[in-house]
């Protein structure tokens, strides 16, 4: 179960909205932060804390693509391949991540270092292609630049 600090945090979130159910998305974020991803257990804790049915919690969590339902590697790479990024070669970068690092979309590398997720637009179309590594933002990507960047994430 969540520790006292987290329970207090969720309680505080509940107070920001006229109805406590609004705290569900924020609470799922908190659970994801605490456990790294949303395991069944983590979602059960959220359900219990917010007094909501588990199927409702799972149904809601599964609707949003930023909630992770699989354990991720140490670093989560979210690369956009939507139209603006695609036009400027984002798909080549996916191939590069595949061949150079052994990454597959929606999978984690064998050493557990990277997980790759193909993102829909992340609003960096003007500096495409772009990606997020964890919450760090990188744009104007090239193969060389990606190599440099990923060196920082061990």
């Amino acid at each position: 179960m969540f520790n006292e600090t987290v329970l207090k945090e969720i309680d505080e979130i509940k107070g920001r909205y006229p109805d406590f159910r609004s705290a569900l998305l924020p609470a799922l974020y908190v659970a994801q932060r605490e456990f790294g991803w949303l395991s069944h257990e983590a979602m059960s804790y959220v359900a219990r804390t917010l007094n909501l049915p588990e199927a409702m919690v799972r149904g809601t969590a599964s609707f949003y693509s930023m909630f992770k339902h699989k354990e991720a590697g140490r670093h989560l790479i979210q690369l956009c391949t939507n139209v603006s990024c695609m036009i400027l070669g984002a798909e080549r970068l996916v191939d590069f991540l595949r061949t150079k690092y052994g990454m597959e979309p929606d999978n984690t590398t064998q050493d557990g270092r990277f997980s790759l997720v193909i993102m829909e637009c992340i609003g960096a179309c003007g500096t495409a292609p772009a990606m997020l590594v964890n919450t760090d933002f990188y744009d104007n990507l090239t193969e060389g630049k990606i190599e440099e960047i990923l060196d920082k994430y061990k």
């Binding site: 609004s22 974020y29 809601t60 949003y64 036009i87 400027l88 829909e120 609003g123 179309c125 003007g126």
Partner: protein, 420 residues
């Protein structure tokens, strides 16, 4: 036209409240508090401001519906779920000019009688969240937010709500569902959010850019504002230009600026001297325009005459090397991924369109596939619950209309000629 929405953003510290105050920030708020709410709405009406989210609905009309509703509390929601591919216009406001938005929201809240505002921010903007939260804290500190703003008996609180990756939540009723902690599936309308919105109370939902126009309108008055831009579509507009141009980026220009001008003048023309092939003028939800149809004024009224829409003003430029089948396929992959699944035509139709486009793109297209695409489009168009399905159908329709030959080539040659 000087910059209004992106004023001062080259200042690396522009998000700080003190910098904002230095350039006259929060003065409109003080002025607004001296006005009656209905007079504020009057100024907005005179300004001719239309919502910048995509539909271009007159802002004052929306506000007056909520204003007239006698239920309380009322809520103000800022739609910062900027998810339309190609769109990144709200981002500089959120990251560099957050106080403009906050000021706009406090004034709007005062005008419609809302004491609580929420910024529904897309989950993919973690940095904007940080900036916004810091700015909100500063605004509370300086008493521009709180229970007695500037010592007046005016209350407004502001909370940032982080979305979690669902394009559909840009649709206002889906956004409300999401804000209520539910799956972001659009609601039936009527009732409309202005009467039965968040938590079943009257709710105004405006785009970031729309709300950021409010302080300027108060400052110069509705009439002064309406001098900017086109006749029925007034004010400054943020155009986000991406794709095959020399200088992609966000451009603040008068509403109604000619698309050709935006691409060739402001954005520096086509990259590497290539030829222009096609443009999405307002994100991929707006029908594609071929290169010979770009002399259109980019505003809500004019664009339909040219067979497209202004949408979010996200100009995606494609040069001659771009395969339109591939673009259509990628776009449909997006729409299928983002379809909420509530209504049959969109849930099933986006899947079918994607499947057919995928096989055409991969060289497995069949005789009759183009007709099949048209038939699916026909089933979907105008029959989906919300605009998402219609957009997907509209995109395919426009692609076939203007680039049918590319689809035929793919099917005939059993490959994409851009592929190795």
């Amino acid at each position: 036209m000087g910059k209004i929405l992106l004023k001062n953003i080259e200042n690396s510290n522009s998000a700080d409240i003190n910098e904002y105050l230095k350039i006259g920030g929060y003065k409109s708020l003080i002025k607004a508090f001296e006005m009656q709410p209905k007079d504020i709405i009057g100024e907005i009406r005179e300004s001719g401001l239309r919502g910048r989210g995509g539909a271009g609905f007159p802002t004052a009309m929306k506000w007056s519906f909520a204003f007239a509703d006698t239920k309380f509390p009322k809520y103000l929601i800022c739609n910062a779920d900027e998810g339309e591919p190609g769109t990144f216009k709200d981002r500089p406001i959120l990251e560099k000019n957050p106080h403009l938005l906050i000021e706009g929201m406090v004034i709007s809240g005062y005008a419609i009688g809302a004491e609580h505002g929420y910024v529904y921010l897309r989950g993919e903007y973690p940095y904007a969240k940080e900036v916004l939260n810091k700015a909100i804290a500063q605004a509370y500190e300086k008493n521009y937010l709180g229970d007695n703003i500037l010592g007046e008996n005016i209350k407004f609180h502001l909370t940032v709500y982080q979305g979690a990756g669902a394009y559909i939540c840009g649709e206002e009723t889906a956004l409300i569902e999401s804000l209520e902690g539910k799956r972001g599936q659009p609601r039936s309308k009527p009732p409309f959010p202005v009467n039965v919105g968040a938590w079943a109370m009257p709710t105004i939902i405006n785009n970031v850019e729309t709300l950021s126009n409010i302080p300027y309108i108060i400052s110069v008055g509705g009439a002064g504002y309406s001098k900017i831009g086109a006749r029925e579509c007034t004010g400054p507009k943020l155009y986000s230009v991406s794709g095959c141009v020399e200088k992609p980026g966000v451009y603040e220009l008068p509403m109604g600026t000619i698309l050709r001008d935006i691409i060739f003048n402001y954005a520096g023309g086509i990259k590497s001297g290539k030829k222009l092939k096609a443009v999405f003028p307002g994100g991929i939800s707006t029908p594609v325009l071929p290169a010979d149809n770009i002399d259109c004024p980019m505003d809500f009224i004019s664009m339909p005459r040219f067979g497209s829409m202004l949408g979010s003003g996200a100009v995606i430029v494609m040069d001659e090397s771009v395969c339109m089948v591939k673009v259509a396929y990628r776009a449909l992959k997006f729409f299928e991924h983002e379809s909420c699944g509530k209504c049959t035509p969109c849930r099933e139709g986006t899947d079918w369109l994607r499947k057919i486009l995928e096989r055409i793109e991969c060289g497995k297209g069949r005789e009759g596939d183009i007709e099949l695409l048209s038939e699916v489009v026909d089933i979907m168009y105008g029959r989906c619950f919300c605009p998402l399905g219609d957009s997907a159908a509209g995109l395919v329709m426009s692609m076939i209309k203007h680039f049918r030959n590319e689809f035929e080539e793919h099917i005939r040659d059993k490959k994409c000629k851009n592929q190795k």
